[in-house]
Symmetry: D4
Subunit: 251 residues, 8 copies
């Protein structure tokens, strides 16, 4: 931006033209069209986090193109919600793609260095909640944070949770993933003094309403200090936790 203004000062650009240039600039210099997808390379500068490709509702071709363009610039790129069939199609297009079946994640290349981040605990209530917990853990690691996994600590046996409290308290921020044991974040929030990001999962049936009741229970809880992300949104929880963990690391 300064460059444009220097040109104005130097008389190489009229003020009127500069107005036009300035309004286009932030995007024009960074966007590279990949088919009809625009890749926003400035996003990491603005938000600290690169674009993560949401694979749901995109074709393998669209995902492959986006991953390649992101990896070309940044070293590594990651896509979420990749089911096994789409993973196969992707690997046919991008042979050096890596895939994590449980977490439904695909990635390409290795990311460059990230800002320092304090450790994050990913606490998971039940075995059926593991895919979402692992999505959160892997994305947090992709963003440069160290992750402690604490699994199968539901509240139906609250002792299981109490027995793992030390490991949880050692982290600077906690991600709690639960569906049928949606009480987990409420109980946990009363036992720790760290930020707690709750991730409801769509595990369950009947009145679970595909995770809506778990989400509601987490938000309605009287244990203050819990914040929540969308159902099954391991990525969102990871990004939020990493932003906090970087602050805790003195960034």
């Amino acid at each position: 931006m300064l460059e444009v203004l220097d040109q104005v000062r130097a008389g190489a650009l009229s003020p009127a033209d500069a107005v036009d240039r300035l309004s286009d600039l932030p995007y024009a210099e960074v966007a590279h069209a990949v088919g009809s997808t625009m890749i926003d390379h400035h996003r990491e500068l603005r938000t600290g986090v690169p674009e993560i490709v949401f694979g749901g509702g995109k074709t393998a071709e669209q995902i492959a193109a986006a991953l390649r363009e992101l990896a070309r610039r940044a070293g590594g790129a990651i896509a979420t919600r990749i089911d096994p069939a789409k993973a196969d199609a992707l690997r046919a297009l991008v042979p050096d793609l890596a895939f994590h079946e449980l977490a439904r994640l695909a990635w390409l290349g290795a990311p460059g260095p990230r800002p320092a981040a304090a450790p994050i605990a990913v606490v998971c209530a039940g075995t059926s909640d593991l895919p979402v917990a692992e999505e959160a853990a892997l994305v947090a690691e992709f963003l440069g944070a160290e992750v402690v996994r604490v699994h199968d600590v539901g509240v139906a046996g609250v002792h299981r949770l109490l027995a793992r409290l030390d490991a949880i308290r050692a982290a600077s921020v906690v991600i709690a993933v639960a569906g049928m044991e949606a009480a987990l974040p409420s109980v946990l929030a009363g036992l720790i003094d760290r930020p707690l990001v709750a991730v409801p999962t769509s595990v369950g049936y009947g009145v679970s309403l595909d995770g809506l009741v778990a989400l509601g229970a987490m938000l309605a809880s009287c244990a203050p200090g819990i914040t929540a992300v969308n159902i099954d949104n391991g990525v969102g929880a990871a990004v939020a936790a990493v932003r906090i963990a970087r602050l805790a690391a003195g960034r």
Copy 2:
């Protein structure tokens, strides 16, 4: 019914007339119209529990008439959902009426002897849940059960609950009342081996949805063995618990 059949045997009644008499009998001998309200005096015989007058949506006149008719036959009668204004109107009609403001209950006379029942624990999560918990406790006492009250044992401080476990375990059946701390029954169910009746309350705001989320969370919980009643339904929980407590008393 035997009486009708005896008359048939004695020839005092033709079989055809008996058919008509029999189909009317179960109701005709016990129903006394009070205005347009029919009082079902046989209900206690059939179900073990007398009619309890639901005061919501009824006028003071209708409630007074029903209470008087029930008390005349059974010694004592009880009405629920009586707000202070309706209580005043009721007392003008029935001077010897008693009223419990917190529990919104009115009663007339004293019930006769009830079947034996084992003790019931009424566990209440927060101060705002007390009206429902007290409705449950008083109705259970009206039905002849001994009640242990355990208050303010929410899960935001799970130690408060653990500290009272002995008192809770001493009961034969547990009623757990909670709104914003809807996790309470889930945690409790993993700690006791008694039947547990959960009562969601409409305490809360926003995503609480007037208790719907608390109800959903209780039912969706993976802690098996929890059963639930309608939101704020202290009466229903009391009746269910008393039926169980009578079984436990060897009835």
Copy 3:
């Protein structure tokens, strides 16, 4: 726990170390990790009911590992929500597995002796509700209760229900399973004096909303004493009924 305290008394353990030991103890001595699943062998001690593996959202490998670990300790183990494809995969892993297709249950081994329990009636409204009713009946039997099955007694022909009342009244507790005939528990509750656990099913279409309306109708009913479990939750109804039936057997 006494053992730890004895060591403190004997001076073999410092009070500070005992604090650490004690907080870990309840879980550490009983939990055996099976992959990322923790098996809670103490659950039956605390709650009277062993862990029942919820098969929904778990892989065949996860289910097989959990069943094996539970059966190794307790003699027998059971898993729910097993569809035929998953049953085939399970049997490939655990050849001596038994499978009940209608009830979607798999089990391994035979449970040891259970506490005495009074008889339970499982009342089922329609043919389409049978899978849930059978899940409830088989789990109750697995937990040691005797079960009386009363099928196809919907309210569209209320005489069918009246004709079976004696069989129902002979049980100490009643499980009523219904979807499109959600009125069944309301009618039944007015005819018996036993605890009644209602199980809504997801049978139906349109406004049935996958069982939500049946559940709501059961809870909103003015027949007091009905309690309900989640939609299609035969397991939860069985556990609740067995807890009651054990009380009724004088436990």
Copy 4:
């Protein structure tokens, strides 16, 4: 309409003008503006039922004007959803207005003769459902039908209902009004061979959802032949039943 065409034939009106006249005619000759309200005097010709003024959301002035215009033409007119305060305001404007507080109905004048109609049974589950039942009964009577009232026959004591079956079966069509006893129409539909119009009421609390669950339960019932109207819609049920009762009377 014939009149316009006769004018065309006679040359008194050009075909082009007739096109314009004809499109305006059906409404122009019958509509009399009352403020901004249009009174549709042809409605009874088309539908067999005159306009009934819905009082909700209208001012006393608007209701008074509509009642006066309707009564002027047809002899009598009726308005619904009139609470006591609005009734007072109406009576100040229209001194000879009659008012039924329980049913929230106001009427003016007496209707002329109506087509013959067979008897209608209005069956009401609970005392709290009476306002809606009485709205249905009074509107049916206003439309010329004879009404049999059968009150307080909920399913919590199914014998109460069975005892009144003869009275119900004597009618040609049945209106069943219920809120917390929403099972009533389902049970009734299995016992009679007459058309049955179910009216859910907003009586209840919690999961009743202001009548939505009662409506859903009535529509989801597997007892075929039940039709339903909107929650608390006594008027709609009356109009539907009267249309049927007129057919049954040989109209």
Copy 5:
């Protein structure tokens, strides 16, 4: 029943035994267990309509057994919600089964004579609503009514509807089937004086909510006299309309 009472009179049966016999009688003499399905042969006597087998959620074996038992007694039987795959399975079990693919109906044999019924109009808004409309029409014909089909008369072109009014008015009762054109019953109800049964369909997307909005719009309409059945419930509409049409035929 008279028979039992005659035995009492004759001394062949004690009154006490008669009480037992009588309570079992209404069902015992007519129910024939078909596997776990009870066939209620008395239903047609009580309700004027035989049991119609709801095929959803039943196995081909269960449906075949029920159809055979019903047809054996009554000459003909009908099952609904039969998709092509289930139809194939059924035909393998019951070779002489007939199947209507669009209406998803299967039937066996021919029904005996039915009571007289006046003609019924089945009015269908869009092509996509035809399966439900045809289910209604065929079931009405199975029950002995004459049906007039009026198709594709949506309100997006209200002239199409006006042009068919005479055909519609010639019927004694009208079934209106609509999904995306849910306004059809509202418009129609203002143009006819016959009973009108509205059937919402699940046709549509987005805010259609699988037919819930169509149902709501039909019930919320200010055109009085519309009654509705469950979404896609052609059978229920047919039964309701036939009950009315029999009354109109002077039954």
Copy 6:
């Protein structure tokens, strides 16, 4: 903005300082804080429509301050959702305020000249929908459009609507306001070739769900070309219609 750039060119401002100035400029020169409310005087430049004060949830003091600041700059200003009590409080603060009780609008001063706009028809289904229709009409007039009001043309008597078609077709854009007659826009859209903005109202009860069903019915309709605004949102419909009407006037 050009001014800032001219200063850079003239050397009066360093490029770095200009960057800061520029990012603040668009807002700083036009925003005047009124307490904690920011008035966005540039909005009319950007969007063609000035800020309209939404009175819901604001105090009389906040509304008065906003109206005064807007009127000071633009000549006239308008506030919506003003109930009579708030209107009284407002008039005490702003004596020259005008108030329209039915439409719940308050305004101050007179707006300056507006761009030309073609006529708009506001079509209203029922008397109870008038407040919303009048809010739309008055706001459209405030924004400089001519409005034709067509009232009480519900679909329960479709002839009423057909009779007014010429008046409606004479407008360039149509606003259709309806609650219990939510079919109105669907029917109308099939009869005209103009843009049609549907406004659902919260008039109704039961399944109306405070307007949600009317909104859903309007959007789910198969009559293409209907667009909708929020329930009771007369203002939004007016702004949308005026934008269209200005285009139609050749702007």
Copy 7:
């Protein structure tokens, strides 16, 4: 219609017969039954837009017949919601059919000349929203409008949107398509003075509720002037926008 009246004038038709003829005429002369589907050839005359075949819930045979009949009369015809399997079946029936896979559109022939229309901008938030955006764009082009496509301008990077404002402002009306970036229309509406039609998409998961939350957010936004169509309803947005664009072109 004039023709009929001329016959009356000439005495060739009696007034009474003319009444009958007239009521049938608008539809009879234009409707051609295609199986049970009625094709409304007058629709374009009345509404400016021909019938567009909604392919959802129709068989390939029904769609083929409707397309052929429409194309025979009008030169070109179009069908929506055609998935690849249905497209294959259609092409087997109609070999010269064209198909656009992304937009799920099939068309036959080429439409005749359309009225002039100003340019329309179709703004699309994310790659996953493209199918709906392209449906809107292609239908608008089929109806004769010029379309400017602006893709991938979500609000997560608001600069991307600002950079394309000039292209958007050059259109006379804007269609904004968004699912997970439902904020797009709110932001856009504050930046332009053109009519804006918002199309929510069903892209997303969890609380997205298949597009319901995006729709709600668009309608609840305080940015006045936004109107919305049903979720994923590209066709409806196109028709609405074309009606506006024709007005803007001076029609």
Copy 8:
């Protein structure tokens, strides 16, 4: 706890008695019953945040007792959801109570020193959202954080937001409060790299659904890193933000 163990070591307490003492200890030493309310003085030790009294659903007496007990121990105490009437009742009981009407907060005394915390930005979209924003800001200050207030920066004029970005970016964590401008957090999250806690408000009408749509829109947004709290839950947002801000301050 060490004290108990020391007694065991010293032989002053038997191990068996110690088991009993230990299970009671965590609660017994800190809980002081205030009527039926238990005050959990250990909460600040465990969670870093003292108990904040939720005033909704509590009587003035209950609130006063809780505030007095908390302030007696901790120096200062705070209660939320205090409407003006309840504030008057409270001041009659606790004369030295302070009250903030807009934020509906009451407090007593002054809190002691808190841990250091980095600055928090409270960003508020509209004037009607101020009560919730101010509740968040005051509670954060009560907990020892410095707060920067940024008001009236809705997205309908996105420049207003861009102009305040520097102030927002200067904070370590951002609370964004919005109802009708629920797009605010989505837009903001794409512009900053700090943790962002979104607070939906119940401001709005119609499809706003009392804040549910705002909440849904915030959670469904594709801008990763947003976390949310319950509708109108300023307290919860403050507690979450303070936990983060303390980490950022190096705690």
